[in-house]
């Protein structure tokens, strides 16, 4: 909700979500943010969606490493282990 008395509008709230989640809002701003959330289903859903987005991002599969590049590095590792300075792998 929004009004002329300094309440946050939904448009403003969506831009503060990351700052809120980071605990970076000033105390007064955080209170206004939470007051808005308490009475606005749309913004509550938006915050929830952001949280879930972050959660999915944290569960992505590790990307496969290029096999050739990995082999070159393992070769460099063996050279290094043998006691010489490794050569550039590229």
């Amino acid at each position: 909700m929004s009004d002329a008395q300094g309440m946050l509008s939904c448009r403003e709230v969506v831009e503060l979500v990351t700052a809120y989640l980071e605990g970076a809002l000033m105390e007064a701003e955080e209170v206004r943010f939470e007051e808005h959330l308490a009475m606005c289903d749309g913004c509550a859903a938006y915050l929830d969606q952001m949280r879930r987005t972050i959660d999915v991002a944290g569960r992505l599969d590790p990307e496969a490493v290029d096999v050739e590049a990995c082999d070159r590095l393992i070769h460099a590792f063996r050279t290094w282990r043998a006691g010489s300075e490794p050569e550039s792998g590229s």
């Binding site: 938006y46 999915v56 944290g58 569960r59 590049a69």
Partner: protein, 221 residues
């Protein structure tokens, strides 16, 4: 952000065991490190150099640099902080050497400083009762089963959305949300302020959320 901030983070016992194993020549441990960090390293390198092949070269050179510097690792920072610091230095050096390097500040791209949610989804500022309120609010995902959110195809959409971000946003969201780095670690590594980091992270998350919403709403329709 000074380098002393980063150095307050001390290597964990696991880090020290890893370094010990590497010094002893344990190839398996080296391979695990490569597999764990290479994708993120390429993303960070792409903040400084323009093409993926060059970024891949920078990462290769970084691993060689890591081996060369291993005898000097003292555990005054975490192992990953130490590795990524070597990476950032390599990437910056490479970028300076190439005339085509891009200054960090330009990476957000022109026209990428507006609202992160389509303004058409809100009522106008002149609306008599609810200016700036949702006209088209997001659908609640409360009823979306966890397994749908974590399904392979959903995660693919999220990965695709991350891949399409501008380089600096992609690097920040990868380190923070995919790899779980703290804000302080990311700021130290990239030599950016907390505020700058937060803006990049917010823009990145907003775009990934939008892609996810588009996909899930399309399935629900």
């Amino acid at each position: 952000m000074t380098s002393t901030d980063a150095e307050q983070q001390i290597a964990s016992p696991e880090d020290l065991r890893t370094v010990e194993a590497l010094r002893a020549g344990d190839e398996r441990v080296f391979r695990e490190l490569i597999e764990r960090y290479t994708a993120s390293m390429i993303r960070v390198a792409l903040m400084y150099v323009r093409t993926r092949p060059v970024a891949e070269e920078v990462v290769q050179d970084t691993w060689i640099g890591v081996l060369g510097s291993l005898p000097r690792f003292e555990g005054r920072s975490s192992l990953r902080t130490w590795i990524f610091r070597i990476l950032a230095n390599q990437a910056r050096t490479r970028a300076r050497r190439e005339a085509r390097s891009v200054p960090f500040s330009s990476l957000a791209g022109p026209g990428d400083d507006g609202p992160t949610v389509d303004p058409d989804r809100f009522l106008g500022a002149d609306h008599p009762a609810f200016p700036g309120h949702w006209a088209s609010p997001p659908r609640s995902w409360e009823g979306t089963p966890e397994q749908e959110l974590l399904a392979g195809e959903t995660r693919e959409r999220v990965q695709d959305a991350i891949d399409m971000l501008p380089a600096s946003q992609r690097a920040v969201i990868s380190l923070r949300d995919v790899e779980g780095w703290s804000s302080q670690e990311v700021c130290d590594l990239l030599a950016i302020s907390e505020g700058n980091q937060r803006v990049l992270l917010h823009r990145a998350r907003a775009k990934v959320r939008e892609a996810l919403e588009e996909y899930l709403d399309g399935r629900a329709a």
